[in-house]
Symmetry: C2
Subunit: 275 residues, 2 copies
Amino acid sequence: MSNTEPAEFDRDIAVRRTDDRTYAAELAPGWVVGGGVNGGYLLAVIANALRAHLPSHPDPIVLSAFYASASVPGPAEVRIETKRDKGSLAIATAELWQGEDLRITTTATYADLDGLHAKSSGFERVTATEPELPPLEECLSSTTAPEEVKEFVPMLDRYELCVPKDQFVWGGAAPTGEAVFTGWFRHRDREPDPLSLLQVLDALPPVTFGLELPGWAPTLELTCHIRHKPAPGWLKVTHASRNLSGGMFEEDCEIWDSAGRLVAQARQLARLPRA
Amino acid sequence: MSNTEPAEFDRDIAVRRTDDRTYAAELAPGWVVGGGVNGGYLLAVIANALRAHLPSHPDPIVLSAFYASASVPGPAEVRIETKRDKGSLAIATAELWQGEDLRITTTATYADLDGLHAKSSGFERVTATEPELPPLEECLSSTTAPEEVKEFVPMLDRYELCVPKDQFVWGGAAPTGEAVFTGWFRHRDREPDPLSLLQVLDALPPVTFGLELPGWAPTLELTCHIRHKPAPGWLKVTHASRNLSGGMFEEDCEIWDSAGRLVAQARQLARLPRA
């Protein structure tokens, strides 16, 4: 591939301004998961439109998304309203539409991450611990998933996810009995950045797969925090839930970069699969 | 107090419909904290307007709030747009305005909690652990805070917060060195319910108080999950942060009810106080 050709991910999240608050996108069929398009990919499309709309604030800092209906591959529109644009932070809402159907409504705070960090006091205190994973060569790669799984989840061809053998759900591993899912992750032809982290925050199978609850776990809301620009290389990603109750569960996601830094966090509220 | 007189909290969050999508409120001076009005109280005002607007969906399930500017006591307006109202869930946005100033922009999913629970499979798996607190009689109560503290934080008179002695920041306890804050909580004259939990999720001092960072820690975004209707009685509330870095920190809040159930969770992204 030549250096001038954009990566697949960048082609797939491209947007085109059509009026002073609207951006056209083409949702790529490669990001389909079962009956819909991956929610994390959709956030990256929306975030790309927000970035174009807020030129002095290039980075998503926090983004909250409410999922109204399942998206399908094809044309879509991102409609933006700036709510605040003052000083070092901008707040805007962005809705993803397909025809007459609202797919996702989001609100986000954008800023220049480097600028925010330069202005900070330098105080650091991270007690979260990096996930322990077997070396890459001992993990099983999503690229080896059976063809019938890839047909149902074409998204598996967009990246490589390498997981401990007992979590290899694509290969038919038995449920671990834990509400945890962890793995190494990288996009096929692109280094991570704040926009791609939004996709990664909702890329892994839900933790309910580990609990013999393999059905669809629809997300009600997902909030993403982008804390640092990630170093190049493989990412470590974890999903975990501590409160599966009353038909719903919270799922926390962390992304650690190759420098051992916690670069992004997400929490979602999802519905438990029906028994 | 007679049974027909509403509790202080209910009077303070009251709203009055002024047109087909707007509700008038009066932000009560009793909820002031330093230079602004408590963010959790403001969420309860907004949530009360949303409840009035979505009569078949009485309970907030998830609510995300972005804080645009500090509120002041006095008149305010909640402007609502319903985004989806189909089946058992409704999604709406609600903005809090004072004059020309946007204070908070929120999005929420509402439902009937009892109905959602009745339709669930009954699957339960809670690995989160209830906070260990000394008995109430061994804790120190916010009601004994010095007068000069109460003058700066009039909100302290709206509820009782009883904390272990080493966390008694109002009495001048030394920082604990931990990014944790825990206590017993109850509103002065009212049992908890889903609306009041929204206030409780942002009522405690920030965890940065434990780290010799006593300044203002402005919230960028706060997401609340209301998972169960709380049992009557005292609540246990915890705040904790695991990732203070790059000028920001995440703060997770949990509320446990008197029946020992994790009834609500929140996560916020806030800016670290300037050194």
